[in-house]
C-alpha cells in the first residue's frame, strides 16, 4: 500500500462507510456526486478563500477528467495562497481578533510565521509546541506572540494566564472550559477524567492549567530578552473559599500522559500534542473539516466532548491525522477524497431537509464568510487568477479592498463557523456598493465583464464565460436562453454594459454568495 493509499485513501473510505451507515440508519437518500467544477469551487473556497478564476477553470479542463479534483487539490496545497489563508484562519483561534497589546504583539509577524511553517510542511504538533513553550522577543521569535497577545495594560508584563489557558483549551484541545475560571462546571458542560471514569470539571482544573502560564512575563531586568518564565506563586481564591490557595500546574485530564511532570510549559506542550491525547487531533480535524465544508462535524468547532459521543468520521479522521504525524496537507487530502465531500448539495427526486445536511447526505449549504465574499467578488471580476505572481497593483488591490470590504460586510471574528442570516446592509453592500460597482463598470483594461463584452465571439460565448467566471459552472439551458436574449442586438459599449448587468445578476445570487 502506498503512503497516499494508507494515509489518505484508506481513512477516506472508512469515513464514507461510517457516514453512509448513519444515513442508512435514519433512512435518508444520499445525493449523487456533484460535477467537478462545483467540487473544485468548494476546494478553492476552503483552501484559499475564493472561487476559481476563468483562467484556472480552463487549466483544470486540460487535466484528465478522472484526476481533476486531485490535481486541483495538490495545486492549491502547493500554492502560497493556501498557507497564508490557513494561517489567517488558524491564527484567529490562536490569538483572537482583538488588536492586542500594541507594544508586545505583532499579528502580522505571527501570521507570516504560521504561513511559512504550513508551507514548509512542519508537522502541526511541532508548531503548537513552539507556541506553548515560546520564549524570547515577539519580533524575533514570532511564536512568542501567542502568549504576548494576552498581556494587558497595567499587568506589569505578565501573560494573562486565564486567557492563555482558555485559548489553549479551545484552540488546541477543542474544549470550552473558560466558564470554570469562576466556578465549577455546574451545568454539566465540561466532562474531564478518563473515558471509563468521567468527572465533572472544576474551577481548580481550570486554574491548574492556567498555572503553567503564571510565571510567563515580559518585564524586569531581562525585558530586552523578551518573554521569560519567572518563579511565581499562583494564588487563586476559589469560589466559596475565604482565603487564596496556591495552585500548582497540572493537566486537566489524562495525567499519565504528562511524562515530565515538572510544571513547565514544555511539559504542557508535550502533553497537549501527544498522539495519545486525542482531543488535540479531534480539535484540529474538526476545524479543517469546517474550513472545507463551511460547518464543523461538531458545532461549535471548539467544543468537543472529551469522552464523546462522537459523530461518524471524527475518530477515524483524528486517528489518521495523528498517524500521519500531524500532516495538515494529508488531512486536507483525506477530507477532499471522501465521497461525502463530493456529494451534490441537492437531490433529484426529494426536497433537501435539515436532516440531510446534518447527516452529510447532501453537501451543506453555508453562507460564505465576509472574507470569502470579498475575495470571490474580486476574483470573479478578473479573468486571470490573482495570486502572489500577479502584478503588485492586483495584489495590493486584493489586500486593501478585501480588508475594507470585510470590515463593512461584518467580520465574524473568532466565531467563523456560526450559521448567520444574510442581513439587509449586506445585501445593500453587494447590490449597490462601490466594491462591486467598480468591478463591473465598463473598464476593458481591468474588468472581466468588459473584456467578455468586447472579446466574446457571440452572445452565447459571452453568457458561458460570465457563468464560468462567477458561478464556476455552465449555464442551464433555461439560463442560457434567457441571458442570450438580454444581450441580443447589443453592440460594443452597450454589449459590455449588458454583460456587466449579467455579472451583477450572478454576483448577487444566492448561488454565488453561498457554498453549495
Amino acid at each position: 500500500m502506498t503512503p497516499w493509499q494508507e494515509n489518505v485513501l484508506l481513512p477516506a473510505r472508512q469515513i464514507d462507510q461510517q457516514i453512509a451507515a448513519e444515513i442508512d440508519r435514519v433512512g435518508l437518500t444520499q445525493a449523487d456526486t456533484a460535477d467537478w467544477r462545483t467540487i473544485c469551487r468548494r476546494i478553492s473556497l476552503g483552501l484559499v478563500g475564493n472561487s476559481l478564476s476563468l483562467e484556472e477553470l480552463r487549466a483544470i479542463e486540460q487535466i484528465d477528467s478522472e484526476h481533476r479534483v486531485e490535481w486541483w487539490t495538490d495545486y492549491l496545497l502547493a500554492d502560497s495562497r493556501w498557507s497564508h489563508y490557513f494561517s489567517e484562519r488558524f491564527s484567529r483561534a490562536f490569538v483572537g481578533t482583538n488588536e492586542g497589546p500594541f507594544l508586545l504583539f505583532r499579528r502580522r509577524i505571527f501570521q507570516l510565521w504560521i504561513a511559512d511553517e504550513f508551507r514548509k510542511g512542519t508537522p502541526y504538533d511541532q508548531i503548537v509546541q513552539r507556541m506553548l513553550a515560546a520564549e524570547g522577543l515577539w519580533t524575533d521569535k514570532p511564536e512568542v506572540n501567542f502568549l504576548t497577545s494576552t498581556i494587558k495594560n497595567g499587568s506589569d508584563g505578565r501573560v494573562d494566564e486565564a486567557v492563555a489557558a482558555g485559548r489553549t483549551s479551545r484552540a488546541f484541545l477543542g474544549m470550552r472550559i473558560d466558564c470554570m475560571q469562576c466556578h465549577d462546571d455546574v451545568l454539566g458542560n465540561v466532562s474531564l477524567g478518563e473515558p471509563g471514569a468521567p468527572k465533572t470539571g472544576t474551577q481548580l482544573d481550570f486554574h491548574q492549567l492556567a498555572a503553567y502560564f503564571s510565571g510567563a512575563r515580559v518585564a524586569g531586568p531581562n525585558a530586552l530578552a523578551g518573554l521569560r518564565d519567572e518563579s511565581h506563586s499562583y494564588q487563586v481564591q476559589l469560589l466559596g473559599d475565604e482565603d487564596e490557595t496556591e495552585v500548582k500546574p497540572s493537566v486537566p485530564y489524562s495525567k499519565s500522559l504528562d511524562i515530565r511532570k515538572d510544571g513547565s510549559r514544555e511539559a504542557l506542550a508535550a502533553w497537549v500534542t501527544s498522539p495519545e491525547n486525542k482531543a488535540f487531533s479531534r480539535a484540529t480535524v474538526n476545524r479543517v473539516w469546517a474550513l472545507l465544508f463551511g460547518k464543523p462535524l461538531i458545532d461549535p468547532v471548539d467544543d468537543i466532548p472529551l469522552n464523546g459521543p462522537f459523530p461518524p468520521a471524527l475518530e477515524t479522521l483524528a486517528d489518521a491525522f495523528a498517524a500521519s504525524h500531524f500532516n495538515l496537507r494529508d488531512l486536507v487530502k483525506t477530507i477532499v477524497s471522501t465521497h461525502t465531500f463530493r456529494r451534490d448539495s441537492r437531490l433529484e427526486e426529494l426536497p433537501v431537509t435539515a436532516e440531510h445536511e446534518s447527516t452529510w447526505a447532501t453537501f451543506p449549504l453555508t453562507q460564505l464568510r465576509p472574507d470569502q465574499v470579498a475575495a470571490s467578488l474580486n476574483q470573479a471580476c478578473r479573468l486571470q487568477m490573482i495570486d502572489d505572481d500577479s502584478s503588485i497593483f492586483s495584489q495590493l488591490e486584493r489586500s486593501f479592498t478585501r480588508n475594507d470590504f470585510t470590515k463593512e460586510y461584518g467580520d465574524r471574528g473568532e466565531d467563523e463557523f456560526k450559521a448567520q442570516n444574510v442581513t439587509v446592509p449586506q445585501r445593500l453592500i453587494v447590490m449597490n456598493g462601490k466594491y462591486l460597482r467598480d468591478r463591473i463598470d465598463d473598464n476593458p483594461i481591468a474588468n472581466a465583464s468588459s473584456q467578455i463584452g468586447f472579446l466574446a465571439i457571440d452572445d452565447e460565448h459571452a453568457v458561458v464565460a460570465a457563468y464560468l467566471a462567477t458561478l464556476n459552472r455552465l449555464p442551464t439551458e433555461t439560463e442560457r436562453t434567457a441571458m442570450v436574449d438580454e444581450l441580443a442586438g447589443l453592440r460594443r459599449s452597450a454589449r459590455s454594459k449588458g454583460v456587466g448587468d449579467l455579472f451583477w445578476i450572478l454576483l448577487n445570487s444566492t448561488e454565488f454568495l453561498w457554498n453549495h
Binding site: N153, V352, T353, N421, R427, M431, N432, D501, E511
Partner: protein, 443 residues
Amino acid sequence: MTYNSECESWHRMQRRQWLSHSMLSIGGLGLTAIAESLARASESPREDRRGQKSRKARSLIVLWLQGGPSQLDTFDPHVGTLIGGDVQSIRTSIPEIEISDSLPLTAEQLHLTTLVRSLVSKEGDHERATYQLKTGWRPDPTIVHPSLGAILCHQTEDNLEIPRHISILNAQWPARGGYLGGQYDAFQVDDPNNRLPNLRRPTSEPRMRVRIDGLKNVVEREFARGRFQDLDILKTQHESATAKALQMMDSQQVAAFDISQEPESKHERFGNSSFGRGCLAAIRLIEQGVRCVEIQLSGWDSHVNNQETQSERCVILDKALSALLQELKDRELLDSTIVVCGGEFGRSPNINGVGGRDHWQHGFSTLLAGGPLRRGYVHGATASKPTSDPAKRLDDVRQPITVQDLHATLLDSLDIDFSQELKTPIGRPLLISEGRVVRELLG
C-alpha cells in the same frame, strides 16, 4: 415585506397601514414624521409589559465618547485639589452641583439628567472596556454578547422600512447583535452630511429592473431546484433580505437621515461638527420610530496633554449634547427616549509626566437622561484624595454602580425583562443581564 412584519400586532398594523395610506404620509418625511409622532403620542402614557401605565421609554440614544473621557475634566471636577488639574468648574441648573467649565451649555440642561459619578468596572483596556460598556458583560471568548440597542430591537416589534438600530460615525467597535445574530447589528452610517451608503441604485431604473428580473426569475429559480422546499424561509433568507433592501432604497422613511431638511438654526445649535449632525439626525430617526441610535465622538484618549485634549472635545460635546437634550424635550420625546452619554472608562486622578491622564475604571462618570430616569439628580461621588492602595480603590467611590447594574437599570427603563434567559448558539441559556436595577436612578 417589512422589518419584523410577521411579528406585527394587528393593532399596530392597522395604525401603520392607515398612516401609509393617509394624506399625512404623502409629500415626504416632514408630514410622515409628524404623523408618526402623532400616532406614537396617542399611545402614551405607554403601557409596560405588565399592562400598567408607565413612563418606560421606547427608544435609546447613545452618545459614545470613545477613548475614555476624563471625569475630572467633564462631569466630576475636583477644583483646587491635587488631582484636579487646571480645570475650573461652573454652576449648573441643579443647585450646588458644578461641572467642568468646558461644558457651559450642558450645565444649563443638567436638571434634565441623572449624573452618575460612581461607575466602576474591571476593564482598563479600550477594546475590552468598550465591549463591557456596550453589552453589559465582560468579554467572554466563547460568546459575543449583544449590545443594548440589539437587545432593544430583539425585544420589540416595529413596522419600519429602515433599520431600527443605527450607528453614526462608523465606530471602531460599533454596536453588534452578538449571539442574537447579524440582523441586530447596528446599520453604520457616516457624517449625516454625506449621502447614505449603498442606497443609491448603481444604474438606471430600466437596467435595474432587468437585473432584478434576471436575478429573481432566472438565476434564483434555477438554484432553488432540488433544494429545501422553501429555501428562502428555511435556509438562506437571501431573497427576503434582497426584497427588504429594495424596499429601503425606495422608502420615504430614508429621509429621516436627511438633516438638510432641518432649518439652519438647528444646525447651528447642534454645532458645526459631524458629531453634532449625528445628534440632530438621531432625533429625526427616533422620531421616525428607530429604536436605537449610537453616535460616536472619539479622541478622548488623553495620555498626553490631557486638559487640552479634553477641553477641545468638550467644545463639540457641549453644543451637541445640550441641543440634543433641549430638542428632545421640545419635541416631547424625552419621556420616551433614554439618552446615555459616556465612554468605556474615565481617566486617572494622577497626571503623568507628559501632562496626560491614563485609563481609570475605578470611579468615572456617565450622564443619563429621559424615560423614567430621575431629573436633576447626581448619584455617587469620587474622592478628592484617592488612596494609593490599589486594593482599596472602591473605598474612594461613594454609591458605586457596576456596569452590569447600569445596564439592568437601562433595560428596565426600556421595559425589557432582563431576567429572561435567551438561548445562545452554544446551547447555553443566558440572562439578558445579571445586574440589578439601581432604584435611586429612577424617578
